[in-house]
Each structure stands twice: as C-alpha cells, then as structure tokens.
C-alpha cells in the first residue's frame, strides 16, 4: 500500500464544525437540550410555513401521523409511523432544516424542535425536555420495521414460452 503524502493531517478540533454525523444509537449527539414548548414556538416561526401548523405537510413533508398505515394500500410515512431512530431526527434537522437556512439553528434549538416533532407524534410528553441521553433512549414505533435486501427476489422468466407480459393497465393506488 503506497502512501503518497498528499493532504493535510487534521485534528478532531480542526474538524469539529463539520463532524455532525449523529448515529442511530445517539453517538455524537452534542451537549445541550431543549423542551417541547421551546420547540413549538420555533416550529411555528421557522417550520410551519412549509410543514403545516401541526406537521400535516404542505410544500414540505408531512411530519406527524400515519400510525398503523404502513401495511395498508396507502402507507403514510412520517417520523412517528416510519422513522426507526429518534437521533436521526436531530441529525437531519441540524444539517438540513429549515430548508432555506440549513445549519442555522443552535444545538439547543434543534433539541427543542426535535422534541416538539416527537411530541406531535405522541412519542414524548408535552413537558418533555430532551438532551443527548433522553433522545437516544427513545424507542421509535417502527424500530423493527426494516429488513435486509433479499434481491434478487422476483421469479425469473425466460425463453419464449413463458407467461406473457401484460400490457393492460395495472390497478394502482392514488
């Protein structure tokens, strides 16, 4: 294995501002905390215009509801119904939201709005106060909803004597 010597060595300190990945077990969640109440007010100011007053969705994704729909003909995938890990919510909001000003929120603000969204989904109480430890401890409803990739999964057809490809419209939801 040849080493070329290109690139600058960097320390953990050098890269602190970029080192924002939060793992599903909460690893790398920062210090700080926030409450549902703080989050509600931030959400109303900075999020509701795109996601609806109660997370019902608008130009931005629907953020609450959908429990029990995943196996239905119209699955509604939200934080509450679909997301397997709560720390991912912190990770995503911090890096990507609000859409118009990503990485503009403080860690406290991200904890707060994360708490509010979890509350909207009935996953934390009205008076919840979230920090690294309590966020990582939340067990999401769909935590066991994911399975590995089993492909190739579709029965193979071949030769010219096989069942024909139908060209008729297929019944399709929505």
């Amino acid at each position: 294995e040849q080493k070329f010597g290109f690139g600058q060595p960097v320390t953990q300190e050098d890269i602190a501002a970029w080192d924002i990945n939060v793992f599903s077990d909460g690893r790398n969640l920062p210090d700080g905390s926030g409450t549902v109440a703080q989050g509600a007010s931030l959400y109303a100011q900075q999020c509701a215009s795109c996601h609806g007053a109660k997370g019902e969705g608008a130009s931005g994704d629907k953020l609450a509801g959908g429990a029990g729909t995943l196996a239905s003909s119209k699955p509604v995938k939200t934080i509450g119904s679909y997301w397997p890990y709560a720390p991912t919510l912190f990770d995503y909001i911090r890096r990507a939201m609000p859409l118009t000003a990503p990485q503009s929120l403080s860690n406290e603000q991200v904890y707060a709005v994360t708490a509010y969204l979890l509350h909207l989904n009935g996953l934390v109480a009205q008076d919840a106060h979230l920090d690294a430890k309590s966020l990582a401890a939340i067990r999401m409803p769909n935590r066991d909803g994911f399975v590995p990739d089993p492909r190739p999964d579709v029965q193979q057809q071949s030769g010219s004597s096989e069942k024909q490809a139908n060209d008729k419209p297929l019944a399709q939801p929505q």
Binding site: Q12, I20, F146, D149, Q156, Q172
Partner: protein
C-alpha cells in the same frame, strides 16, 4: 421515419416539386470561427432539454430527466445528464472546497482539489440511475417520463481505495459515511467492501470538470448503486463501524413492502432496458423497415442479452448489442423490424452477466406490491396504433 429529433422534421416539399434550390446557408458566410468558445446545440434542437415534473410541490428537492428518446449511443451529454437535488444546486468555489477523511483511520486528512487530482487517476464509463426511476407510477408518456432518471458518462477521478489507504483504515472499519456540501448535507453510508472495490472520487465527467448539477468540484461515484449514494459536492468521508442510519437511508430510499416492513440498504440497480425508438410520444411514419433502438444497463456488471417481443411478451428475439459492452454502463441495443401497419406492443428485456433477467411489472409487483417506491426495473411496453402513434401500453 420515426420522429426522434427536437426539431419537428417534416417532408419539406411535395413529391411533384423535387428541383433542388440552393439554400441560404450555402450562399453566405456562417457565424465567425471563434464566436462560440464554448459551444451549444443548434437552435433547432432547443426542445431537447431536461424536464421537471409540473406536478412537484417545490423545486428545492426535485429532479429533471434525461430526454432518452432524443438521444443516441451510450454517452449522455453533460448538459442533459439527469438531475436529482435535495436542496438545489450549490455553486462551489473549488479553491475553498475541502474533503475531510476521518473516523476509524490512522490519520485524519483534509484534501484540497489539487491534492485529490494528484493521486493516480482512472477513467471509466458508468451509468448512474436514481432508484426512484420510475417509482411505481409507471404511466410516463415518453421514455424520459418513464426512465429518464438514468444517464451515462465517462468519469475520471481517483479510486476511493487509494484515498482510504492514504488515511489508513483501522481494523474495526466497516462502513464509510459520505456527506455532501450542499444545503441538504446529503448523507449516505456505504459498505466498506464497495469502497475498496470500484468506488471512485470523480472530478471530471465526459472529459471536462463535473458540472455543478453533478457535484462540482468532487463527487463520490458508486458504479451500479442507486444514484443517491454517489454523493455530490462531496466534503466528508467518515469511516465507521456501522451505518449512520441517516434520514436518506431510513425515511427515504427504503422500499416498503405489502406487509408494512421496509427493505433497507437496497443498493444495487438491477438489470433494466427501455426502447427509446419508437417510444411514447413518437410517431412511426408508415409500414416497412424500422430499427427498434434502446438502452440496457445493470448495476451488477455487463449486459449479456437484450430481447425484443412484438407479441405482448409471448415470444422474445435477441437484439444486437453495440460493442464494446462495458460493465455498469449503458449498452445500446438495436433490432431490425418490418412493421406491417397493424397495432402492436413492443417491449425489451435485458439480461446481465449474472444471468438475471429484467422482470415484468406484474412479477415485480407480485413480490413487492405497488408502494415500494424504489428499484422498479420492470419492462416498459409501448403500444403502436395503426396510425403509427406510440403510447405507453399500460396507460
């Protein structure tokens, strides 16, 4: 002939007036040499563009499609390479850009673009395809609407393996988490095995530097994997013992099944093909000889066979494959065909070197249902009516 150009080509004159006149462009100088230091297509091709879906709610996170039915060969010109952005197209100054490699490595490193370009380079022709191409809303009117989230280019860059070796992998390393410098901070976890196989960090596409829409100045390229994982505007690679489970690999890019469970880490794009000529929205101009043309590709390697059916899938005949057939690249296929003027359904199916054959939508839906969202590689049937009009046979 099959209408397949941006300009609407009509027979210019009736058969009774065949006397050729000297056209104006033969009687005057053209535009001065040097007047187009960076060229663009003819004005007569101004309709050949990437289209948005008019129904999208916003255009921060959206996609545009390659107009497959207008193109020939296997190279997609950079100006028409499909797009999928999650918070628009950043305009990155390459001088300011850095790639950081850290985590389970011996030496965390920060690279400038010059550093990256100084490593041994390689050039490869690979396709990229969005895993949502086409979702299960399979009624697109044109080949672009059906399958236009796929393109193919010659990429140049450095093997990701070289970069990871430079930093030095720790024994616990299992995944590499890649992150973009755009406003979406797009984040995906890649199995280390892929990173040490054919993964690249690319800075050039079809000879020139990447376009902003394809990740300028640096993009991860994972041949054969769903396009979303080939992180654009790449700023960071964190080597880890586990996937990060980002929003893009949990809430999105997971495949929901009829029982409500969802498949995760469904990376590979399975074999697929589509007839681009004649295809939806085109007009077959009369009986007689027509060449059926299209593209095939597989995330698992080379295309070994493309077959055509002209009888609603009852029988299949092999098409010609344009050589060289390259691994994980588009492969152009062609099939000579005499149309007798009667209504017909034409369709293609691809087989790759692993022996896997592109399925019908029916067989795919039988296993995955219709809410799967991603990785629909079903056969697309086109119906040709007796007047030559081509439409999606499922519409």
């Amino acid at each position: 002939a099959t209408a397949q150009t941006g300009a609407t080509i009509k027979e210019a004159a009736a058969a009774t007036d065949k006397a050729l006149t000297i056209p104006p462009w033969s009687k005057q100088p053209g535009a001065l040499v040097g007047s187009r230091p960076y060229g663009k297509p003819s004005e007569f091709e101004s309709g050949v563009i990437r289209h948005l879906r008019k129904t999208d709610k916003q255009y921060f996170s959206s996609s545009t499609r390659t107009p497959l039915q207008e193109l020939d060969g296997i190279i997609t010109p950079n100006g028409l390479f499909y797009e999928r952005h999650h918070n628009g197209i950043p305009d990155i100054n390459p001088v300011e850009h850095r790639l950081v490699v850290h985590g389970l490595v011996d030496n965390a490193l920060s690279f400038t673009l010059n550093d990256i370009r100084r490593f041994p380079s390689q050039s490869r022709i690979y396709f990229l395809e969005c895993s949502g191409n086409p979702g299960y809303a399979v009624y697109g009117k044109t080949a672009a609407e059906v399958n236009g989230l796929v393109s193919c280019a010659e990429w140049t860059g450095v093997s990701l393996k070289t970069i990871l070796q430079e930093a030095g992998l720790k024994p616990e390393a299992k995944w590499v988490i890649a992150e973009g410098a755009d406003g979406a901070g797009m984040t995906r976890s890649i199995p280390l095995e892929k990173c040490l196989d054919d993964a690249m960090l690319v800075y050039s596409q079809n000879g020139e530097r990447l376009r902003p829409e394809q990740g300028y100045p640096l993009r991860l390229l994972l041949p054969g994997f769903e396009g979303n994982m080939s992180i654009k505007w790449l700023r960071r690679l964190q080597v880890a013992d586990q996937p990060v489970h980002s929003r893009e690999e949990t809430s999105k890019y997971t495949d929901i099944l009829p029982d409500g469970k969802a498949r995760e880490f469904t990376f590979v794009m399975e074999a697929k093909s589509i007839i681009t000529s004649p295809s939806g929205g085109q007009q077959v101009d009369g009986k007689g000889f027509h060449e059926i043309r299209g593209i095939a590709w597989s995330g698992k390697g080379r295309i070994s066979k493309v077959e055509i059916s002209l009888d609603e899938g009852k029988t299949w005949q092999p098409a010609q494959l344009q050589t060289p057939v390259l691994s994980k690249a588009l492969t152009r296929f062609r099939f000579p065909w005499e149309w007798n003027g009667e209504p017909v359904v034409i369709q293609s199916r691809a087989t790759d070197e692993t022996g896997y054959t592109q399925p019908t939508l029916e067989s795919l839906v039988a296993v995955r249902g219709v809410n799967n969202t991603y990785h629909n590689n079903a056969i697309t049937p086109w119906r040709i009516a007796s007047d030559g009009k081509v439409t999606h046979a499922r519409a």
